[in-house]
């Protein structure tokens, strides 16, 4: 049975979530750890922290954030952004990340994917790909946050990543990112057809229907979104209800008490 994962993604800059987030009653709505706990309690299937920190000293705080998250949220955590070496990956994994996502660094040196998968296992080696459409049915790999075109064909790149040991692929459509026009479904489906590892759709979600389309039309194994979850437009529970109504198997949002270790919060996400 395939169960599609619903994955909120948080952009983190020097240890702080960059954009405001909807949850009321948090002591600190910019704290990634508090938000991770909240999403865990709501029934999110994983959390992604995407580190957009520019400075080296700011980067150090990401490690503290990962360590604290591992103490308080008990769902899988992926950390991406700025992972450049096997040592970066080792440090994040030891502190409590479950997966590390490599992007530009993998394009620059594909063996990094093999090193991470070979050392820690394919299950933690995620390759994120920034993508723009080049022509109908053809897509190009970009790096450095979508600023640098590489000339590399996406379908060839993802197959290479799979050969190198990647355990998951995250497809971030730069054409769609921030547009709220929905995922690039043709891209997603093409990658699903071309590979055998789990594929995560990312970039462009503006409505519940877009999440459903990602699973039903794009055939994604997981649907990732950022702002739509953060600004009360859509709750995790609503996302799962919409997917279930479309015939997609999902983990129900309420599977017992919250895992914060504090007083149990019964059931349903709000």
């Amino acid at each position: 049975m395939k169960a599609v994962r619903v994955v909120p993604c948080l952009d983190v800059d020097a240890g702080r979530v960059v954009k405001g987030v909807r949850f009321a009653g948090l002591r600190d709505a910019g704290d990634p750890v508090e938000l991770a706990k909240r999403y865990d309690a709501e029934g999110a299937d994983e959390i992604v922290f995407y580190d957009i920190t520019a400075s080296a000293e700011g980067r150090e705080t990401m490690y503290e954030v990962v360590a604290r998250t591992a103490e308080e949220a008990f769902i899988p955590l992926t950390v991406g952004g700025g992972v450049r070496s096997l040592e970066d990956a080792r440090r994040l994994l030891r502190l409590g990340a479950d997966k590390v996502s490599v992007n530009s660094a993998a394009v620059a040196r594909p063996q990094l994917v093999r090193e991470i998968a070979g050392t820690f296992g394919a299950q933690c080696a995620v390759v994120g790909v920034d993508i723009r459409q080049a022509a109908p049915g053809r897509w190009e790999v970009y790096t450095h946050g979508g600023r640098v075109a590489t000339g590399i064909d996406v379908l060839q790149w993802v197959q290479r990543c799979e050969e190198l040991g990647a355990g998951e692929l995250v497809l971030n459509s730069m054409d769609r990112d921030g547009t709220k026009l929905g995922y690039d479904l043709e891209l997603c489906r093409s990658v699903v057809d071309a590979t055998g590892v789990p594929v995560v759709a990312s970039g462009g979600v503006g409505s519940l229907q877009h999440l459903v389309d990602g699973a039903v039309v794009g055939l994604a194994d997981a649907v990732l979104a950022a702002s739509i979850f953060h600004f009360a437009e859509v709750t995790i529970a609503q996302a799962k209800a919409a997917l279930a109504a479309a015939g997609v198997t999902v983990r129900p949002p309420s599977t017992g008490p919250a895992s914060s270790g504090a007083a149990p919060v019964s059931g349903r996400a709000r």
Binding site: F74, I75, G121, Q123
Partner: protein, 199 residues
């Protein structure tokens, strides 16, 4: 004290913290004496079967792991820690397992995406102590490409291209292919059952 065997692989912090959240005094332990002093022992494991087998041997913790899984004290294997309880694995034909259970770990069936990296619903055998409370709504998180054979010791399966061994229980030896430390409330409930068994 619950000992989480630290043999230099993967993310042990999550397992330790989740056990603590479930009520245990859980510590990372890297010496045989530390393992022997514990009231319960957890053998985690991620990644490659052969690497985990090798690492356990190199860490000098092989014998004490076999002992812990044989002497009637509560024992919990997680993920590759469950697979290590078998004789070997297709993933690493030359590498040995601890041989607590018969048979070899095999690749997930063809026709499914590998690894299985998702939440899945447990089908729990009635009477399981480990999975008490997870009988009807046991959604837990899996990340694996290989799985143990389904045998008499299997107390839960999930459906992924067919029935896949998800948990075992034989006397005091329990193990999960899924990650209870990453399975939110359901996982903490299973860990709570283990912590209570440790007394």
């Amino acid at each position: 004290m619950v000992a989480v065997i630290d043999y230099g692989i993967g993310n042990l912090r999550s397992a330790q913290k989740a056990l603590c959240c479930a009520g245990a005094d859980a510590r990372l332990v890297s010496s045989p004496a530390g393992v022997r002093a514990a009231s319960g022992v957890v053998l985690p494991g991620v990644g490659h079967f052969g690497r985990c087998s090798e690492a356990l041997l190199e860490a000098g913790l092989w014998e004490v792991a076999v002992e812990a899984a044989s002497n009637g004290r509560p024992f919990l294997g997680i993920c590759v820690g469950m697979q290590l309880l078998y004789e070997g694995s297709e993933e690493a034909p030359g590498a040995r397992g601890l041989g607590i259970f018969p048979g070899k770990v095999g690749l997930l069936p063809a026709g499914v995406r590998r690894p299985q990296m998702q939440w899945n619903l447990l089908g729990v055998r009635p009477g399981s102590l480990f999975l008490a409370g997870l009988e009807t709504d046991g959604w837990v998180y899996f990340v694996h490409s290989y799985a143990a054979p389904v045998g008499d010791e299997t107390v839960a399966t999930c459906d992924y291209g067919g029935p896949v061994a998800a948990a075992v229980e034989q006397g005091a030896v329990w193990a999960a292919q899924f990650h209870p430390e990453k399975s939110s409330a359901a996982g903490l409930a299973a860990l709570g059952n283990f912590v209570r068994a440790c007394g």
